[in-house]
Every structure is written in C-alpha cells, then in structure tokens.
C-alpha cells in the first residue's frame, strides 16, 4: 500500500514515502509466520539545490542541480531521489517442505533518501 496524501503527496523535497508491503495481499499470510508485512518505503521528491537540513547530497548531484538550474539541457535532468540508507528485514515462514525457515534480507527498507 502507498498512502497518498500523507506528508503532502509526491511533491516537496526528496524524502522517504510510506510503502507498506503486506504478505496477506499476495495470499502468503498462511505461510509467513512473522512479520505480517513491513514498511519498505520509497524515495520521491525534488532534488533542487542543497538546502540546510535537506536530503544528503553528493557533490556530483550539486553540480548537476546547478547545471539544471542554470541551463536545462535535454537528457540531463536534475539529480535523482534514491535510497541513501537501507536496513534489513527478517522473514519467518513455513516452506513447501514444512520446515520453519528464517531468512535475512539486507537492504530492504529505505530509511533515508538522498539526491544522487
């Protein structure tokens, strides 16, 4: 699920937006023991010139934002708003051989977004 309108919608500066992944939605709720779902989030928003307290920015992104502000060039748009810090999740479930399985997955939740 994404929850539209939370935090002002898709506009605004680059930052994480809520994206909830529900195992029930794909009919796995009998198999997945825990969690029921997890907040994966996604990154969205404008990457303009860096502002204090704004998303982390690479130097290259600053140059790109400057170029875009000064002379927009087709094909060379502003920097992109992408995950900058991710964290893992663990899933406990029954597999098709009736084993109880615990799997760890790295980089599954976008905690922070940045302009790149």
């Amino acid at each position: 699920h994404t929850e539209p309108g939370v935090g002002g919608g898709p506009g605004g500066a680059c930052r994480p937006r809520r994206l909830h992944v529900s195992f029930r939605e794909v009919g796995w709720h009998r198999w997945v023991i825990a969690p029921r779902g997890f907040l994966a989030n996604f990154c969205q928003g404008a990457c303009t010139l860096p502002e204090p307290g704004g998303p982390p920015v690479l130097n290259h992104a600053v140059l790109r934002a400057l170029m875009h502000a000064a002379a927009p060039t087709p094909g060379a748009g502003p920097p992109c708003c992408v995950p900058a810090r991710l964290s893992p999740i663990s899933v406990l479930f029954f597999d098709n051989s009736d084993n109880v399985v615990l799997r760890h997955y790295e980089d599954m939740v976008a905690d922070e977004c940045g302009c790149r």
């Binding site: 992944v21 939605e25 794909v26 009919g27 796995w28 009998r30 198999w31 023991i33 825990a34 997890f38 964290s87 893992p88 999740i89 663990s90 899933v91 406990l92 479930f93 029954f94 597999d95 098709n96 051989s97 009736d98 084993n99 109880v100 399985v101 615990l102 799997r103 760890h104 997955y105 790295e106 980089d107 599954m108 939740v109 905690d111």
Partner: protein
Amino acid sequence: ALEAAPSGPTAALLQALRLHEAPRGVPALRPVPPVMWRLFRRRDPQAARTGHPLRPCHVEELGVAGNIVRHIPDSGLSSRSPEPSRTSGLGPKWTVSFDLSAVGPAERPTRARLEVRLEAEDARGWELSVALSAAAGRPGPELRVPVRPGLPLRADLLGAAVSANASLPRTLRLALSLHCGATDARARLAEASLLLVTLDPRLCPPLRSRR
C-alpha cells in the same frame, strides 16, 4: 543483477525474497520452535535502529556466518521404532532422515545441529552415537553424545555427518545407537530435528570500502 523479472506482484516479491517457488496449498501448521522465535526476534530491525547494529550475514546467537536458518523435523521414514540390536552393550537403534531438498546449490552450511529428545526411565551413564546411516554408503566419523535425563541431546554434525565444503545431499540419513550397557534398555525416540544454518553469499552486501 536480478534475473529477468517475472510478471505479477507475487512473482516480483518471490524474486526479491529469492524464493524459487510460491507457497503451495496450506502448510501443515506446527508450533514454531522457540529457537526460531528467539533468532527472529534477535534480528528484529527495530533493534537495529536502536543502536544495536546487526552484522549482515551473521547469526549472532549461534556465532556463525549465515543468512538462512531452517528448522527441519525428521521426516519419520523409519525412525522411532527401534531396531533390535544384536551387539551386547548396544541398546536400541534408530534411523532418522531429514529432507534437505529445499536447500539451494549456492547455500553453504555453517551449522548443522541435531536435536533429539529421548524418553527413558533411567538414562544415567548412557551415550548416544550419531553417524551417517550405512545406507549413505559413506561411513563417516561417529559422534558420541552423553544422554542427560530430561534434556534434549544436541550434536553438531558439521565436519562429521555434514561436510562444510561439499554441497548438501537431498536427504540426510543418520543412524542413532544407544550405548547403555544392556540390550533390553527401554528408550523411546520422541522427537528429532535438525537446525541448519546456511550462507547464501549472493545475498550478502559487497564489502564497501570506507570513503
């Protein structure tokens, strides 16, 4: 790089979670072993956020590398009915087997712990020997585990019945023999399970050089 993305959200989620097949039918629900709950809670991302950094691809509680932990019940093919023992000093014998077909070829075992629950009136001084079943055709080292009344027996099989550097067999068959000094000792194998930890290196983040 991920393989070509199959269509549909379920297929995409399967691929993201590196699961080769979608859940089929309804699972035979059984209680979740306490060790699995403990390991799940230990890896709870909330703990990660509160300043307890989790080492990727590592199972802290068991102290080994790994990102997949399976609790595999014995498939009960020919276990629990003790085979008569003709050797003096040897008590009942059992054969237990574990279905490892779900383990992928890229997974490397880092821990294989057999857990057995025996029921016996007086088990003082008994020992249980664990070895690959003769049917495996490859005699391996025999492990000896002291029987402690009322407590589950645990035996680490890696390096003994399970090789750390070879791919796992589809089925692991083990021969259990009770050394109790009397052939008419009464004991019942109540439960046997395998806790298998494997590492799939493809799921581990590349070591990032510090900037």
